[in-house]
Symmetry: C2
Subunit: 336 residues, 2 copies
Amino acid sequence: MRNLITDVPGVKVGNAHEPRAATGVTVAVFDKSCVASVATLGGAPGDRAATLLEPEMTRGVIDAVVLSGGSLYGLDAAGGVSAVLCKQGKGATFGGIVLPVAVQAILFDLTNGGDKDWIKQPITHRPPYWDLGRDAALAAGADFALGTVGAGYGGTTANLKGGLGSASQRTASGFIVGALAAVNAVGMATVGDSKHFWAAPYEQGREFGGHGLPQKFEAKALAIRFKGQPAEATATTIALVATDATLTKPECKRLAIMANDGLARALRPVHAPTDGDTVFAVSTSQAAPGGDPPLLAELGAAAADCLARAVARGVYEATALPYAAALPDYRRRFGS
Amino acid sequence: MRNLITDVPGVKVGNAHEPRAATGVTVAVFDKSCVASVATLGGAPGDRAATLLEPEMTRGVIDAVVLSGGSLYGLDAAGGVSAVLCKQGKGATFGGIVLPVAVQAILFDLTNGGDKDWIKQPITHRPPYWDLGRDAALAAGADFALGTVGAGYGGTTANLKGGLGSASQRTASGFIVGALAAVNAVGMATVGDSKHFWAAPYEQGREFGGHGLPQKFEAKALAIRFKGQPAEATATTIALVATDATLTKPECKRLAIMANDGLARALRPVHAPTDGDTVFAVSTSQAAPGGDPPLLAELGAAAADCLARAVARGVYEATALPYAAALPDYRRRFGS
């Protein structure tokens, strides 16, 4: 086990980023088309091809999940991913036409200090996301980096640099569950400015430092803080949970909803009006059916734990952006 | 009155298409950001930035609605539109960053005979939609063509060429309502293969030929027919309704739901598992509040009528594609 979402058989992940613009794209691609759904509990989401994941919609399977920076400009990324998938012959075929399905969610990293030249010189300078999506899809593999990479490259939280995180576990029933998160929360992953992560109860080994929870929760540490000015704070944590259990689309919807509880446990506040928090859930269906309520409950609980851990790892593994006003990173502040 | 959606003050429309690929993009851009929502009743939708239009989401206003061909590949179009809107300084500003909101829905025109070179040679040949979105936004004005243009360029129905349609009307309360539709239904706009449109009861003047309904409805004419092989029939009618009445986002959601009834009256079948029928509704808010139930009911009824008429006009104004297997157009078959 790599403690990555790629421990789920059939899932590969690739990153691509543009350091000058301080933004990037992360793609999860699937060996075979996967059953999937989504639960969007943030108040300011941006997504592409997400409606077809609702249980009442026909299309049941997808070929990639794209997470990216760039806010709405970033939604070009799934186009570059789709070109790679098309070249690889992935997706359904209609009358000889290959039509892969790449779904996407974005986060807002436009004011993080990077040079967004496509906003300064629109039309002549294209946003980099189509190319980044293509490159991330071409880079997909079982191993991938965490922290200031891919969709997490430009991410921040209210007090620390955010980043890309991942985690996995095997359930008591033998299923594998993994999570992938690009952390850019309007809230915080730590208890105040302490070294303690809210996700500490679920930590495996010392995957994000092993500091546990504080003995006392001071009022100051519990003060609710938002990134940036409230009126401008546009944030978002976007994520994917995956399992090898065979699930239907409505069961994936349930998995996505329960997985959001991992965001609730790892970030405070989260699901805010200016967060676009979006959690996709996919079943690679390489293992036995997991949709009976007791099994699905176990998968959902595991997905929430994995996602909470992935969020903390995303912050723990991040490196601060090289700008004077950039938020500090966890490890320079607290050691590793 | 032009009998176009641009009769609604504050709405401009532009088309762009690539004849060789037999596909295109239509964009409605707004002089000022508009309150908007969406109702997706088709079973196989493809959209971009649509989730933020749900009433529980924060973002209340949008700057453009993009309709396009290309199925999921077409979802790059909103990127090109956004570049133009950014250049024009439209949209909200966050920390000095201009962020316009262009929402989009697509239709499936990939098997209509056009040369989709980006599918034959993926990665090296990019889909044309980003450029088409940019060009359609740059072309936006009060006058625009109907038929085989823009997002309707590649559209078809079960028995006739589809196309882009539009219509408008003034309500008894003095509000203006308009509709815009790119017709690519899996079903039919006519009663069997007759010259009679299902939308005939709502026709104004002879805007789509003035043939009324047939005196008798023959069983043969009522036989349910789908475009293409059922397993491959991927279709979709996508639309926008607009009004100058001042509405909230939940009221726009209601308007979008009622407007879908216009699709139900003009197309049979519609909202099918392989249709991605999506109806956006926007309020330019240049007139008085229209959200009180009696006023909103009147606006919804008018929106449904306008959308039914827009569908019929889209088919009526269309010109057949120049391929041997292409479906015939209405006017060559029945005269104008």
